[in-house]
Subunit: 413 residues, 2 copies
Amino acid sequence: MKAEIITIGDEILIGQIIDSNSAWIAQQLKELGIKIYQITSISDSPEHITKAISDAETHADIIIITGGLGPTKDDLTKETLAKYFNTKLVFNKTVFEKNKELLGKRKIKMNELNTKQAELPENCIILNNTNGTAQGMLFEKNKKTIVSLPGVPFEMKKIITEEFIPFIQKKYKTTSLYHKTVMTQGVPESELSLKIEDWENNLPKDIKLAYLPKPGIVRLRLTGTAEKKKNIAKKIDEEIKKLQKIIPDNIFGYNDISLEEVIKNIFTEKNKTLATAESCTGGNVAKLLTSISGSSKYFKGSVVAYSNEIKSKILDVNKNTLNKYGAVSKQVVTEMAENIIKKFNTDYSIAISGIAGPTGGTTEKPVGTTWIAIADKISVDTYKFSFGEHRGRNITRATLTSLNLLRLKIIKN
Amino acid sequence: MKAEIITIGDEILIGQIIDSNSAWIAQQLKELGIKIYQITSISDSPEHITKAISDAETHADIIIITGGLGPTKDDLTKETLAKYFNTKLVFNKTVFEKNKELLGKRKIKMNELNTKQAELPENCIILNNTNGTAQGMLFEKNKKTIVSLPGVPFEMKKIITEEFIPFIQKKYKTTSLYHKTVMTQGVPESELSLKIEDWENNLPKDIKLAYLPKPGIVRLRLTGTAEKKKNIAKKIDEEIKKLQKIIPDNIFGYNDISLEEVIKNIFTEKNKTLATAESCTGGNVAKLLTSISGSSKYFKGSVVAYSNEIKSKILDVNKNTLNKYGAVSKQVVTEMAENIIKKFNTDYSIAISGIAGPTGGTTEKPVGTTWIAIADKISVDTYKFSFGEHRGRNITRATLTSLNLLRLKIIKN
């Protein structure tokens, strides 16, 4: 089974945006055992769209088209598809009402352009877009499946997951591929690969390992193929048990769960509360924690103290401590962690102070130097890290490291 | 002048890596006035490589191929190209010595595989790779230019910049393509396109408009072609002046500048300070502001008050106000904005309280309802918004909206 992805949009061809949709789609199809033959990025022109689909039909069974479905005049995909499949656009009342309701919730009135989005090719299967006004359209032709989706990632992903994959699973039959991803924090990829070398070399032949690193986190994806999913799942779980013994503090979850979700689950279950006092992370810890729905059950808030004045005035850090040791010090993060617990009356706290860069580093404390404190009502644990040179990565690493340290403290309590 | 980019590599087709090379190459070619006709990602197979080049020759003058030049057996691009261009591989002593020296510096000895990298097609122009062992290869055929480059970004970029661009500039003479992107906040795409419809319809024929929306922001890209860059730049600026009169409050900058960067520039220039009091955005405003290096010059910090208790205890919001009007109200954000200015002793403040969702909505205050207050030492302006249903998007929209409102207040002062 082969597929081709066609992405439509001049913004890709002039390099204004990087096409990340295709990689995501390719991953989803791989799960179904479908191989991508080619990914083609083309312009918003009817001739080019027609040519690309027609080319793709010669070598792919499934063609996934993204982009060019917006309400404005430069989006021509829908009209082109209707022509290509010898059909006409018809007004769909259900889609119109769905879009009206969706826009209504955002206090946007239906206008001529939005109304037109409810006009869809007569012979297509409509894939419902609950995240936006451009519906997905699925065409079947000579046993081939051609689908057109909006290019906005969160709309496209929703339609692929909820509408397209179930359709494909029903229509085609594929062998079972089983994945489990181990989420790790705190060991960089190169170090991790040495730590787990023996384990990796002794993996059964039908289990494959892939390293999927991103800043602060390394995902280890184990993949097995089998007739029966249950057997391979069990086999993979046994290998993970061995891995847990090698890196007990670093595995925080499975299958792309985030650290912020893990923290929410533990705090909610244990009925404990949390506050953060952040300097160099600038609110990123709070932001990440509150990105999860339900975080208000345990997270009371944060003080972002981006100047020494605020550290002493709002977080009551002793001015002598600040002067003697500097803001990036064990002593200051300790006071920050202790004081935020008292002020916010929580069970736990995180405090972070570091030099995110690119400026502000010294020989003694170079860019990347970061102190993290994790406190409960009884004790404060402090840690010093040297993250690196890159501002954004330092903030991400400090944030994720603090969450993993917090996780370890609360589960050990 | 048209170009096509062909990227070779199974890792792209299985979604393991995102192709960011193409966007970078496209940007470089855009500067030269060369339009990308298509970007095609294909597998490491000789048949596929041959087919892709042959297809590209039918519509592109310049073909840039990346990837598949590594020393290992699965990299077949070089052999395939030699066959395609009816030539043979010959050993190049200069390249061999350069590679030997390069690997020597990394304490790597030349082996059979590395030695083979010095074998290059007899009829190609060699583009020197000072960052790696895979040379670039340039072929000329029927007035067309076909170039093959390694896929490693830092090697590819070096060869493009130092070898390929000078070659192209010498060989072809091109007309100038000029882009300017107008950054807007506060008007959704469909509404914006109606607002500026007349202006859009009256654009000169040699200026094209594209809408590039992302959550909370719509970028308007104006593209013009001309013999002289200066002329078209002037013409586009004149159109932008007209646009400014239609949406004066929504244009915050040009050419992909971020709102947080604009805010930093204004505050630094005016020598003013800022603090934020955040509820539903959970620290996202502070996080965004502090993502910019140098933000500590004006940003003092934030209180993330994620519970009513913290709103009253830390931000001194009157308990009666909270009880009477609820946390998501004009009255509460007003107090939050006023009090944070006093507590943090700043010139300006932002306060945000809303229902991010997906839970917590009521009939009176559905999910997405958000109050924003912008204060200076004299006055507080408050605004009510109905953003939508999606938690992440609500947070992003509230954040960006507050930054644009802050921008308007400070520039009007």
